[in-house]
């Protein structure tokens, strides 16, 4: 068990991050290296400023708001939630003054962010069971949603335990020790990380996150990088 925990928490994390960063960089490089389309692909009537509107399309999904308002609510909650969770994870590496503009304990949102993201993911998953989205979906779509759900539910559980059930054994300090040791390539696994009641949750969280990171560059998750240039093409 000890070896398994070690493999997931140390080498696999390195591999996952390497695949994620290198894979994403290579794939993006290959895509942007292709020749540009010879003619405009925009939709009219055009409005200006095009860049600002492309940003608006990319981050606020106005077309979804217009045509699928319920989906839009969950999409906004989900994507904004992910952003907060990413900030939360950065804070597990150390203190960032900029994030403390709103004074808070790590993680932001008192545990509700993870809850909302989990519910959003369930919504995305369940709507794929219903026609016509069912017929449009391919296994990748389900894998990604299930994977994300598992990551978020195990991750959030640790946050909820600390905040809502006074579970104090596994704390932010321990995560910080672990993560900064990884960052400095001197891996260290505190006792609390591997041998307390909620350790297996933590290990599962990291395991699924590793899988996700390794799949990311090859999946449609790449829309996180491609959405802006695509929306710019549509805006002209």
């Amino acid at each position: 068990m000890e070896t398994l925990y070690y493999v997931i928490l140390v080498p696999m994390v390195y591999v996952a991050f390497a695949v994620f960063f290198i894979g994403t960089a290579i794939r993006l490089f290959k895509i942007f290296w292709e020749p540009k389309h010879p003619s405009t692909l925009q939709i009219f009537p055009e409005k200006k400023p095009k860049w600002l509107l492309a940003l608006y399309d990319t981050f606020l999904f106005p077309t979804v708001r217009k045509h699928k308002p319920v989906l839009w609510v969950f999409l906004i909650l989900f994507h904004f939630g992910i952003l907060l969770l990413i900030i939360g994870h950065l804070e597990l590496f150390g203190e960032f003054e900029i994030f403390q503009v709103i004074p808070h304990e790590v993680f932001l949102g008192r545990g509700f962010v993870g809850l909302i993201v989990s519910i959003s993911l369930l919504y995305f998953l369940f709507r794929r069971f219903v026609s016509p989205v069912r017929e449009l979906s391919v296994p990748e779509d389900y894998y990604l949603l299930v994977l994300l759900f598992l990551i978020v539910i195990f991750g959030s559980q640790m946050d909820w335990a600390r905040r809502w059930y006074d579970y104090g054994e596994l704390d932010v300090e321990h995560y910080r020790t672990y993560l900064s040791s990884l960052l400095h390539f001197k891996p260290e696994l505190p006792y609390e990380i591997t041998d307390t009641g909620h350790s297996f949750m933590f290990v599962l969280h990291v395991f699924f996150a590793n899988l996700f990171l390794m799949f990311f560059p090859f999946s449609h998750s790449m829309h996180s990088f491609l959405s802006l240039p695509m929306n710019k093409l549509r805006r002209g």
């Binding site: 010879p38 979804v64 045509h67 016509p132 391919v138 090859f218 695509m230």
Partner: protein, 435 residues
């Protein structure tokens, strides 16, 4: 199961999916030739969220999932995932990657020739995926496999042939044009000694590129003459069958005939008749040229603005609505001009939609109308929503500015007994000309 049954099944399966490696490689090369940056975006990004579901008039009219934009695109994407992504080798099932087979070609045909390339789905997609672009891959593969609609290739080849041997056609063309002049003069009396339909005039300001048909030439000529335009008629018809069939080489050859003619005559402005594809191809694919490209609608609106022509509103009775041809409006931006013209034609104009981006396609684009009777049944079934949209305006005159749309809307008018009068906008202008 007996042995024979098993063999039969294997044989059946093999025959269905059989495609020799050489053919497949050739087709994949064609696929590769389409892969530019934008195409990679479109192929990599779809999350199959289903927001585009209601966007397609075919799905909205017929309710079959295979007509949803994301489903059509996925047919191309599955081949992409098989042959152009590492996943296709290691883990094909994750994206349902699919082998390029004869059956796959059937699916490609069904997807590409039920899509009119109207790009209405692009307005819905949160990323702006261009289904028309993805369908152009399907169309090119079909050409490579010799399974494209023959009629479109035939028409494209005829156009190209005409470009190569203009001298052979010249005589007949000029004779035909002469016969039309009387009708032009009937609409607008030109001064004695001037030609009603000038052809091959070097140094003319405007080159008008019409379609093969008097209805595309007579009203336009009358308006040019009324505006005192220094114009000349092109030898060639505007329509680009190469674009319909999705053949980039032929599209370019057909386009170049007109570009070369315009350069030879030192033209300042090329004016494209009421043909959506012709206009968009000329405007967006011709590249940097010494002349500007306009749609006839833009030219007419300009004449009105400059006071070069005047129109009599009393010529039109009843409510008028206007169908924006997709390739001219949503896809090329000529939206305000037809409305400006209509303001001068009627006080009773009714919009089909609040937002021109959401206008339903007539259902005849992408070569479907050019394929004629073969597609008639499908065109009628797939355009029910268009009929409803027109009926809701209560208009009795339905104007448009595209030959394809006009044919399709006329067919719809007959099929659904809509009782509207389908008209070309340029004809309405010509008929309402006053001194």
């Amino acid at each position: 199961m007996t042995g024979i049954e098993q063999i039969e099944i294997i044989f059946y399966y093999k025959e269905d999916s059989f495609m020799d490696n050489k053919t497949r490689d050739d087709l994949l090369k064609l696929f590769q030739s389409k892969l530019n940056e934008a195409m990679r975006f479109y192929l990599e990004t779809c999350t199959r969220c289903g927001v585009c579901t209601e966007a397609c008039h075919v799905y909205a009219s017929m309710g079959q999932v295979r007509y949803i934009a994301a489903y059509r695109s996925e047919i191309i994407r599955r081949l992409y995932k098989k042959y152009f992504k590492g996943r296709g080798k290691f883990w094909p099932s994750v994206g349902e990657a699919k082998e390029l087979s004869e059956m796959a070609l059937d699916e490609l045909f069904d997807a590409a020739y039920s899509c009119t390339g109207c790009r209405r789905c692009m307005v819905y997609c949160p990323f702006g995926i261009d289904t028309q672009q993805l369908m152009s891959i399907a169309k090119l593969l079909l050409i490579g496999a010799n399974t494209e609609p023959e009629i479109l290739t035939l028409l494209a080849d005829t156009s190209i042939e005409k470009g190569k041997s203009m001298e052979l056609f010249k005589e007949g063309f000029l004779e035909g044009i002469k016969r039309l002049e009387a009708e032009v003069v009937e609409k607008w009396q030109t001064e004695a000694g001037t030609t009603a339909i000038p052809v091959d005039v070097e140094g003319a300001d405007l080159l008008y590129v019409a379609l093969a048909g008097a209805h595309s030439i007579i009203p336009a000529a009358a308006v040019f003459n009324a505006a005192g335009e220094n114009w000349t008629l092109s030898f060639f018809e505007a329509v680009n069958f190469g674009a319909f069939v999705g053949d980039p080489t032929k599209t370019k050859l057909i386009l170049d005939r007109i570009v070369n003619e315009a350069k030879r005559l030192k033209i300042k402005e090329v004016c494209i008749c009421e043909c959506g594809t012709a206009y968009r191809v000329m405007k967006q694919l011709a590249g940097e040229q010494p002349f500007k490209v306009s749609a006839i609608t833009e030219v007419h609106a300009r004449y009105l603005k400059e006071g070069r022509i005047k129109l009599d509103k009393s010529k039109l009775n009843g409510a008028v609505t206007y169908h924006d041809p997709c390739q001219i409006a949503r896809n090329a931006g000529v939206i305000d001009e037809p409305r400006y013209i209509l303001q001068h034609l009627t006080d009773n104009f009714r919009e089909l939609t609040d937002d021109p981006r959401y206008n339903w396609c007539c259902g005849g684009g992408g070569g479907l109308v050019a394929m004629g009777e073969d597609t008639l049944d499908f065109r009628m079934k797939s355009s029910k929503v268009k009929v409803d949209q027109i009926k809701a305006t209560g208009a009795n005159i339905l104007a448009t500015a595209c030959e394809n749309c006009h044919t399709q809307l006329s067919n719809l008018n007959d099929h659904y007994a809509m009782g509207v009068n389908v008209q070309f906008l340029s004809s309405l202008v010509a008929d309402a000309l006053v001194r």
